[in-house]
């Protein structure tokens, strides 16, 4: 097991290297140097002054040298400074990261506790009409734009105190209960799409498992239906569901960007949006890098969890991208 995790961890290095290349060079494509953006439109500089400024900021070197220097600083934990506030980027991100992660975790939790029971129930009631209705319901869940759902929630709960954060966000460490209460609606609007996906996978997987011989044997032994479904069927049917939930968790993190804006939650997504509106490229670069890294790590974690529950996976080393 340790060897499996080690190889998977090593395989992350080229991917993260590629991510850093994209994050660095895409920003370099923008017309105008970072320096010009920093100066904005208020300041005029002569060409000589510009050259001098470029030297001071270290922008006069070849772009490959700049990349290597940048990567070196990132690896040491120095993500640079905001062009707008002049503050170090990393502490700002780290102080906002917990909120975004909390949103993601609660959204995942809600998606699981809504999706799995729904999937099980719909797999047990099998007739053509409920079949079609279930599929349409599942697809409808996939079709709801998260930000619209969030807007409707704001609308519906605008007169109810405490459910909508709107400017008076309370930290979990200050008051866990009130914090959780105001995180539920934002998390729900992010998680509902995933709950539909989980519902569909649970249902498919249950239908497949329920046809198997050992289920018939269990029923024939006279075991209670509830025990057959939970102990025998669900235990095997849940495997693909874990993978799907895991690989989609990263997308929840992406969804948090929009939802934090709708609910005015001071998380990393909101920081990213303001950085984009203000063309604050060091902040944008850092956030994209952090989210992509988290995304890759969550996918790795999913692989590892999957291999823990299903020992067959470890035998063929990670060759499963069907």
């Amino acid at each position: 097991m340790g060897k499996y995790i080690a190889t998977r961890l090593l395989s992350l290095i080229p991917v993260l290297f590629g991510v850093s290349l994209i994050v660095f060079f895409l920003v370099r494509l923008i017309p105008g140097s970072a320096l010009e953006m920093y100066m904005g439109t208020q300041v005029e500089a002569t060409p000589e002054q510009m050259i001098e400024l470029q030297r001071i900021f270290g922008e006069d070197k070849p772009v490959l040298v700049l990349y290597v220097e940048w990567l070196g600083r990132i690896l040491k934990g120095d993500f640079g400074y905001s062009l707008r506030t002049g503050r170090a980027v990393l502490p700002d991100i780290l102080s906002r990261l917990p909120l975004s992660l909390e949103l993601t975790v609660i959204a995942l939790f809600l998606a699981l506790i809504i999706g799995i029971p729904q999937g099980i129930l719909s797999s047990l009631r099998k007739n053509p009409i409920s079949d079609v209705l279930n599929r349409i319901a599942g697809l409808l869940g996939l079709s709801l734009p998260q930000f619209w759902l969030a807007s409707l929630m704001v609308l519906a709960f605008s007169n109810t105190q405490g459910w909508i954060p709107m400017g008076n966000y309370i930290k979990f460490s200050d008051d866990p209960l009130r914090n959780l209460r105001m995180m539920i609606l934002p998390s729900l609007s992010i998680g509902i799409g995933l709950s539909a996906v989980i519902m569909r996978y649970t249902r498919n997987s249950m239908l497949e498992v329920l046809q198997m011989d050992y289920i018939r044997t269990a029923k024939a032994k006279g075991l209670a239906k509830r025990i057959v479904i939970i102990r025998h069927a669900l235990k095997n049917a849940i495997l693909p569901v874990i993978t799907v939930a895991g690989f989609n968790t990263g997308y929840l993190l992406g969804g948090a960007i929009v939802i934090e804006e709708v609910f005015a939650l001071p998380g990393m997504g909101r920081l990213a949006l303001y950085a984009i509106y203000q063309r604050d490229y060091p902040v944008i670069q850092a956030i994209v890098l952090v989210i992509a890294t988290l995304f890759v790590l969550v996918n790795l974690l999913t692989d590892i969890i999957y291999s823990l529950v299903d020992p067959r996976i470890r035998l063929d080393n990670g060759a499963k991208h069907a």
Binding site: L21, I136, L140, S143, P145, L155, N204, G254, I284
Partner: protein
Amino acid sequence: MKANRLTRNAIAMTGITIIALYLLVIFVSTFWLPFDPVEMDVDHLLEGPSLATGHLFGTDEFGRDILSRIMKGTSISLIISIAATALGAIVGTTMGTWAGYLGGLWDHWLMRVADVMFSFPSLLLAIFVMAILGEKTYNVIIAIGIVYIPQFARISRGAILTIKSSEFIKAARSNGASSTFILRKHLLPNILVPLIVQVSLSLSVAILLESSLSFLGLGVQPPAPSWGNMLSGARKVMVLAPWTAIYPGLAIVFLVLGFNLLGDGLRDILDPRLRNVR
């Protein structure tokens, strides 16, 4: 035979019906709209839906007719989604089929690039690309297209790999057919099924991505109406005028649902291996 199966498949037919209704709206809106979608009307700010005034879905904070804006926005959203999906499908499939067919170093590097692209959540990647290209309508097409390229590359490569070594390809090759000829005449037709399904599902996600970008102010720029930027404008006034937020959202939901139903249904119809697993 296939058409017959299509009519029997309620899911795909419901999807087609929904999409056809939207196409009808686009057709009608090129000739006629209830009101001018961008003209402001200060005498009718935030009026509720009513038959008497002719504003069936009400008016927004500038007095513009919401129904007209939704109708106009239909073609904007649909054109962006179709163009972005086409971009991703054409570039991605070309790259993926060549990679799968040729194998070797080209394949290796292409798939490493795809792995890197998959390390970004799609919405984040689209937002990042928009931040770099700037908020222009045609840039939305590029941003969403870029998100799709690795997806189509991976699917088409996988499909090519499964049929590359089959007898009829070997026969064609031993008859002296060129690689381009084999790819076009033999391989592409055989990987169309997964691609068609993917196109349908990609169209639905493209509409969601476009509306999310426009909602954040990074997509279609006002005053041009798109469902996403209508909802963005509605945020400030929706407590007073809920209809400004409800109708554009419903327009998104039903079109996305249409493409999802079509994609899901097509998968059943076209791919017999998957039919029993649903």
